[in-house]
Amino acid sequence: MTRLTKGAAYGRVLARELRVGPGNLSRIAPRLGLEIREVNAEGFDGALIRARELALGAIVIRKSIREAGRKNFTLAHEIGHFLLPGHDQTELICTKADVGNWGDGAKEIEREADEFAAELLMPSALVQRIIRSAAPSLQLIEKIASQFHTSLSAAAWRYCDLAKERCAIVWSGDERIDWSKRSETFALSLRKGTPLNKATYAFRAFAGQAVPKQPQEVPANGWISANDLAENAKLWEQSKALPAYGSVISLLWLQP
């Protein structure tokens, strides 16, 4: 069972107290004393300007964020900064790297705001039902992103945060692992910065080659050290190129 984090606890309580459906952020912000402004920012994706004395402030979002889901997630992330204890005295200008950066090197307050946003936009009870409805696939993750109006990376992270299957999501850039998220039962290591093996579909996706649209069994040592793997274990992979980000997203699934 996934441990309830501070960010997730505040996200869950806020949704419950306001009794609004997930993703309805334009209704949530004013009830917290927050205004939302979209601006032509150059160097940040989201920012929070707040008064020290009382619940009053403004969330500033970069107008040119292309994806609506990403914009929504950034907004939820900034609401998290507004609400979470310990975030009030800190720098609250968030660059692209601060929001939805699921890597191990993310700053603690940014990770907490991300966890808050994930729970607010994708309540675990509702997401778990979708997860249980079908076998792991990128299509299922895209369904979560679309249904909960959030970014693909956030939905992918959330999927592995809650999935019971032995699966992991790998986000790669420049043919190297950028970040990964493993489900609780996927105990194998996927190190940040590791170059992608040529035998993986992720590598082929980077090369612009066609890759299967459903998870396929692949040689496990393309991703994982053979020493770590049980003898009869099979690894399935589904990868997809994301040209707009210069990235590739991969879903790994260990069976049995």
Binding site: M1, L4, L32, R37, G43, E53, L56, V60, L92, A125
Partner: protein
């Protein structure tokens, strides 16, 4: 009618409840403790309170068995063990949720009373650390300054009685 011949009303009722629960929430195997807790919270039922009430009730039942000199049935013993309050991880989570609830409610209350509170505060101090950020362009700093000014204006546009000033 002897005790043995009486229809087992408890079993019938339990089966009916189990069927209803399965139809509404799905098979118990498909739901974990965290999700169950969230569903209860969504229905405004505090899971820890519910657990404590069940524990008290089963404890009284077990004591009644003991008072009659009868053995406590194994399932009742198991239920008592499962529901026993203790310093579990979930207790820490419940405490976290309680803290979050207090903080969120305080903030929502404050936001509701914002116009009145604005009249009581002489000056607003706004977070302005962005002005020292070297990586932010002058253009971005100006944008944020505008937003900050706008927040200050919200205070200036409130009358002493908390109502908004009418702009002509």
């Amino acid at each position: 009618m002897t005790e043995r011949e009486k229809p087992d009303l408890f079993a019938t009722e339990a089966a009916r409840l189990a069927l209803l629960s399965d139809r509404i929430l799905g098979d118990p195997k498909e739901i974990d403790a965290a999700e169950a807790e969230e569903l209860l919270l969504a229905a405004n039922i505090d899971a820890s309170e519910l657990k404590a009430r069940f524990h008290r009730r089963f404890d009284n039942l077990a004591k009644a068995y003991a008072a009659r000199g009868q053995r406590v049935p194994p399932l009742l013993k198991q239920a008592l063990a499962d529901l026993r309050p203790g310093l579990s991880h979930s207790r820490a989570e419940r405490e976290l949720l309680r803290q979050a609830q207090t903080a969120v409610r305080d903030l929502l209350k404050q936001a509701k009373q914002l116009p009145q509170l604005l009249t009581k505060i002489p000056n607003l101090t706004l977070a302005a650390a962005y002005r020292n950020k070297k990586e932010l362009s002058e253009h971005d700093k100006k944008l944020l300054d505008d937003v900050a000014r706008n927040i200050q204006n919200r205070k200036m546009n409130v009358k002493p009685d908390g109502r908004a000033k009418v702009r002509v």
